[in-house]
């Protein structure tokens, strides 16, 4: 097994854990946490591909940084959404916001 | 076995750093109490040892011998993980500080980023303490700590970046080398606004008065460490002083020329500058009243962040002009 594959394995582990958590969690905060795991895995895989594979290492690291920035932006928004949902529905459980209320 | 073995030298370096951090905490507690006393025209610690020098040791003994109490409905894991996490980054942050001309342990070309990213972890430990204690005051203190550190990290980083721009490197040794021995050759003299912004944000980052809202005792009893007894509290305390020292060391290296100085050898200059800044921070605590929370955030977002951005822009323009000329 090459080193590249090992790093991909770690990234895929995070991916699997992220999907697992997304499917298992019922609260928005739990899902956000799972999503962060997933994004971490993506960043790891991209950086590994470019560091050890054929790509441009600069591009790989920058893409990884980009993913981090994206994660930060997404977390900001989701936290705001969680705040609104909690204020409106009383808790941050996705079941309690699944109904349409006028 | 020679000292050249990397592992051994690393271990020795770590032991030295831990010893330094611990001794520094003890000495700084004494200095803080003495300065506090003198600022209020009273003597400060007096009775244990000459000039009360052994008072912090006695306090440490007391803290160590106290029972460690875990509140009944607290989350044990988070509750005891928090003080450990608050001290954990300290030795790592000490590694890139340029104490000696050629400190053998680690010389990183990303030293500044290393320190700043690990200092940011302190806020996580405060969060853990706040959430783990299951106490309203702790939770409020933690919420304040988050808002404060997240906000003030921005002007801190921007001010530090200004010095990085001027030196062209993130290695603290090289930043020092880019400055001269005389005060007018220091970045802090060339760019006093950056130094000022850095110092203010540093005080806020380390949760020191006048920005000690996370532990404002008149409002939140003791903020995030309300529930901690014995060494749980002691470790928070030690970590606080270690962070003050680290951030003052960074300021000394970035803005005050670090080891640069006439006559005396470099390490002494560095220590002198670092402790002068620490003294300033301590005296600031006993001079200014605590700010209100909205004042704190206003100060950060409406004053310091724009000022830091403008400053970094101005610095770039001046540097370009100098380069062109």
């Amino acid at each position: 097994m090459s080193d590249l594959f090992l790093f991909h394995l770690a990234g895929l582990l995070l991916l699997g854990l992220g999907f697992y958590g997304l499917a298992r969690r019922r609260s928005l905060v739990g899902m956000l946490i799972a999503l962060e795991l997933l994004l971490n895995g993506a960043g790891l895989s991209v950086a590994a591909s470019c560091q050890l594979g054929g790509g441009d290492p600069v591009a790989g690291q920058l893409t990884s940084l980009l993913i981090m920035g994206l994660a930060a932006a997404e977390a900001t928004l989701v936290v705001a959404i969680i705040l609104v949902v909690t204020l409106r529905a009383g808790d941050s459980n996705i079941d309690s916001v699944s109904e349409l209320k006028g | 076995m020679s000292l050249d073995t990397p592992l051994l030298s690393l271990l020795l370096g770590l032991a030295a750093i831990l010893a330094f951090a611990g001794a520094n905490g003890i000495v700084l507690v004494w200095v803080e109490r003495k300065v506090a006393g003198r600022c209020q025209r009273r003597p400060g610690p007096l009775h244990v040892g000459p000039y009360g020098l052994l008072q912090p040791l006695a306090d440490a003994l007391k803290l160590i011998s106290k029972q460690l109490i875990t509140p009944r409905r607290s989350d044990r894991l988070l509750y005891w993980g928090a003080p450990l996490l608050s001290f954990m980054p300290v030795p790592i942050c000490f590694l890139p500080l340029p104490f000696l001309p050629e400190m053998a342990t680690v010389r990183l070309n990303l030293g500044l980023i290393l320190i700043l990213s690990f200092i940011g972890l302190n806020s996580i430990s405060l969060c853990l303490a706040g959430l783990g204690s299951n106490n309203k005051w702790s939770l409020l203190g933690a919420a304040r700590a988050i808002a404060q550190t997240v906000s003030f990290e921005i002007p801190l980083l921007l001010a530090a970046l200004t010095a990085v721009f001027m030196a062209g490197s993130m290695d603290l040794h090289e930043v020092m080398a880019a400055q001269g021995p005389w005060p007018w050759q220091w970045f802090g003299f060339m760019n006093p606004l950056a130094l000022l912004l850095f110092l203010i944000s540093a005080v806020a980052e380390t949760n020191r008065a006048p920005f000690d809202l996370p532990e404002a005792e008149s409002e939140l009893t003791a903020g995030f460490h309300t529930e901690y007894s014995g060494m749980g509290f002691g470790i928070f305390f030690l970590a606080e002083y270690a962070y003050i020292l680290i951030i003052c060391g960074v300021a000394a290296a970035l803005f005050l020329g670090g080891q640069q100085g006439p006559v005396a050898p470099g390490p002494w200059w560095f220590l002198a500058k670092m402790y002068a800044l620490v003294l300033l921070v301590i005296q600031l605590r006993w001079t200014l009243p605590r700010v209100r929370f909205d004042q704190l955030l206003n100060l950060c977002w409406r004053w310091m962040t724009p000022a830091a951005l403008l400053n970094i822009l101005a610095t770039m323009l001046v540097m370009l002009a100098l380069k062109g000329a």
Binding site: D3, L4, F5, L6, F7, H8, A10, L12, L14, L15, G16, L17, F19, Y20, G21, A23, R24, R25, R26, V29, G30, L32, I33, E36, L37, A47, Q51, L52, A59, Q61, L62, L65, M68, L70, A71, A73, A75, T76, L77, V79, A80, I81, I82, R88 | D75, L78, G81, N109, L110, L116, S117, L121, S123, C127, L131, A142, A143, T149, V150, E153
Partner: protein, 168 residues
């Protein structure tokens, strides 16, 4: 990687696994968050292993220092008065969740195993200067784009956060 590096790799992998499991399985949200931060530390270690120290530090600074702390805020907001955080209404069939995680990961892992042909043995260390040149030169558009996205997200977050509780 030499054998020492392999040991370090396995250690980081275990850290990621443990952190991830806590993050996805813990009942209390604050513990889940601690798991997430642990996993982030593991990933930072991975970055160090692949010779990208700048990325590792950024991982700590952005993920652990900023995103983790942000999620702490969310946890505090949604903290119920007392007791368990998740009210035991998990997915009916936990197997489905496992499958949801395992299937894509396993497929991709198999693909990676089959199709990785050439790989460097030693990753190059990119100096920060080169990264900065890339950010301001070739990849400037992406850099600008992410700043716009961040700004939009912040503005959106502020707008959402200012919404008052609805009057009944």
């Amino acid at each position: 990687m030499n054998s020492a590096a392999h040991i370090v790799y396995v250690f980081h992998l275990l850290v990621i696994l443990a952190g991830g499991l806590v993050a996805t399985r813990a009942v209390q949200k604050d513990r889940a968050l601690v798991g997430l931060i642990t996993a982030m530390f593991g990933v930072a270690g991975m970055y160090l292993l692949m010779n990208a120290p700048y990325l590792a530090l950024m991982q700590l600074m952005i993920y652990a220092g900023a995103v983790g702390v942000l999620i702490f805020f969310a946890v505090m907001f949604t903290r119920p008065a007392q007791g368990q955080e998740e009210r035991g209404r998990y997915l009916k069939r936990p197997l489905m969740a496992v499958a949801a995680g395992l299937l894509p990961a396993a497929t991709l892992a198999a693909g990676a195993f089959l199709f990785i042909r050439q790989a460097k043995a030693q990753a190059p260390e990119i100096p920060v200067v080169q990264l900065g040149a890339g950010l301001l030169g070739r990849y400037a558009l992406a850099f600008e784009l992410i700043s716009v996205v961040l700004f939009a997200a912040m503005a959106g977050g502020v707008l959402l956060g200012f919404e008052r509780r609805r009057r009944r």
